[in-house]
Amino acid sequence: MAVALILVLVAIGSVAFHLWSPWWWTPIASNWAYIDSTIIITFWITGAVFVAVVLFMAYCVYRFRHRPGLQATYEPENRRLEWWLTVVTGVGVAAMLTPGLFVWRQFITVPEDATTIEIMGQQWQWSFRLPGPDGKLGISDTRLISPENSLGVSRDDPNALDDIVVEGGELHLPVGKPVKALLRSVDVIHDFYVPEMRAKMDLVPGQVSYIWFTPTRTGTFEILCAELCGVGHSMMRGTVVVQEQSEYQAWLEDQASRSFARLAPAAQ
């Protein structure tokens, strides 16, 4: 009796915690509301299964508890029931997987009008590179990294000369415009994670990975590193500032003047 009751309380308590606890995701600030919807679908389906199974267990524990004279039913198999449950499970799984795969397709397909930027990780800070007036990022290589050229940007590539480098500072982005971030690391694996953007991807040394999103509201958001990268891991923070186009433009021009000054002498 007590066991059945506690099982019921576990089921009800879990649902109550889900509905009324104060801990929930951050208000979204990007186009990935689809991801949130997929999570909600998954919560509904898995939550229903959890409650149904635990309540059924509680029922069995109460109804079929040992009493003198009770005999269990001998029934090795029940083909119909087993196949019926298998098919229902298959349908439930498909109901979660199908929308998931559609959204994943969007997640990895970058829109053509996206602005390409670069996000660079190193122990334990973030740097960023934005294209200058030509709209293109120049070539970069880890082997070109030096104290004066912390991202290893190639001085032989004309596209690189107007690139805007932001070291250890804030990344600014215009609201409403899709951005494709190329992700690089100079030392170990890091992970670019902004909870409000629902976006996350590893930065792996020796290769370039990418992620895209469209900021949908202005504000200041925290960048966290989400892949263990050594003792400074939890200190590796950064900031994304999403602004209206005009404010963003002003910031970009200010940054551009500083970056040109840094790269120009070596480019001659």
Binding site: T38, I39, V49, E82, G100, Q123, Q207, V231
Partner: protein, 590 residues
Amino acid sequence: MTDVPFVHVGPSAESDDVELYHPHSWVTKYVFSQDAKIIAVQYSLTALSVGLIALVLSWLMRLQLGFPGVFSFIDANAYYQFITMHGMMMVVYVLTALFLGGFGNYLIPLMVGARDMVFPYVNMLSFWVYLLAVLILVASFFAPGGPTGAGWTLYPPQAILSGTPGGQDWGIILMLVSLMVFIIGFTMGGLNYVVTVLQARARGMTLMRMPLTVWGIFTASFMALLAFPALFVGAVMMLFDRALGTSFFLPAIVEMGQPLERSGGSPLLFQHLFWFFGHPEVYIVALPAFGIVSDLISTHARRNIFGYRMMVWALLAIGALSFVVWAHHMYVSGMNPYFGFFFATTTLIIAIPTAIKVYNWILTLWRGDIHLNVPMLFALAFIVTFLNGGLTGLFLGNVVVDVPLSDTMFVVAHFHMVMGVAPILVIFGAIYHWYPKMTGRMLDDTLGKIHFWVTFLGAYAIFFPMHYLGLMGVPRRYHEIGEMAFVPASAHSLNAFITIAALVVGATQLLFVFNLFWSLRHGRPSGGNPWRATTLEWQTPETPPPHGNWGKETPVVYRWAYDYSVPGAPEDFIPQNQPGTQTMAGTAHG
């Protein structure tokens, strides 16, 4: 499958007892023993000791997370060393060793009606090599620089660089060497488990009459023999990278401003090798638990396991599928994103055979005669926690849902629920269940019930709310959350609550350890078959069974393992070795 093939090798049933080479001295009987049952106890005690170390480590890391800054000796270095050693110890040196080396050794020969494992000497070596691996691992606590703090996944490049504790000291080297030694030891044991099941079963014990415990351990051992070599290769390559200057996993990198003389390696290669081992590993721990819990539920509900054949096929399907899902750990690793479609699909397909197992467990309860003995309580709690952890796996397996959740506390909560709490509840249930066979005495019931309720409800209180910290965005492996704008103050209270729950649950395990030793002398004598179970280990002539298990003749098997409450039978169970009318199922499964 209709007639009974007489699969039998090794000593024939009529052989004289003298052919069994019984040990003569205390050392050969209890130390360098070749008796699988003694080896099982050696494996279990070693694994439980490692488990206690890992428990203390989890306390220390929870103290830091619940009360950051209060305990100054837990700095970032120490914190990362604690989480790394806790994780690797629990997954490999506790759970794998306990299920396969412990329960596998004890139960396989007894349950299939064999006298011992087929290669007893190799079996003995397996334990001593395992012990060596444990000693190497523990030695890293005392090595210069301390143990590695690379996280249990040991991802290079950070695992072998100076920014990680132990990366340029002894820590990572000892970890890799210990893993290699462990795998060598496991291979010797694993071959034994597989060959014994295939070759040494008693007469009449067809594969489809085997208890699900044996099926689970057998499938898991087979998988481990295929999966561990991938980790072995990864460990050798990383050791070369660390000690010999090769570049298997290191591209051109600049470490703390200094370019390293390496180029051309791939950090992702290690991840593929690691998870090719690492995902089957989850099921290497889960499948023995599935098997054992099936037998616990059936025995204590006095009812045949529901859908036995489906249960066997589901085990095999899960085992096979688990080799094609590994990259679901790598959705945000920067691998080719098109892999996501394939691995999400295979991962969610695995949910189907897994769900079948859950249905069949609860359908075994349905219309049963449920005795709420301590092993049964643990089995019920296993279903709840495994179900919970399995369902959150559907979030993480579904590639796009994984993006916001991966590398957060949601993942930590998920895998602790599904491969920490759930299998450990089965281990406890199994110990309460088989302790009488091992010692001839029952474990104390009252202590058992206290242990059960605090462990089950406490563990649920630790890990269920933790999912919501991850949903909020709190990353895992953070020494300090510190100031995060999106984390409300209430989340810090939740962390403190989780820490207190962890301390209480951990302390309760000492009650269990006390019970283990106390009941050795003071437990109620159990007799040979206290649970009135059908399987062969309960039918031995003596309890605890001596070397050779069966006296003069090995048993002959006439029926499947689940003849409980057969209509018309005088008792509510019919042992597998009892001749007589074949039940309907006995024919179907013979």
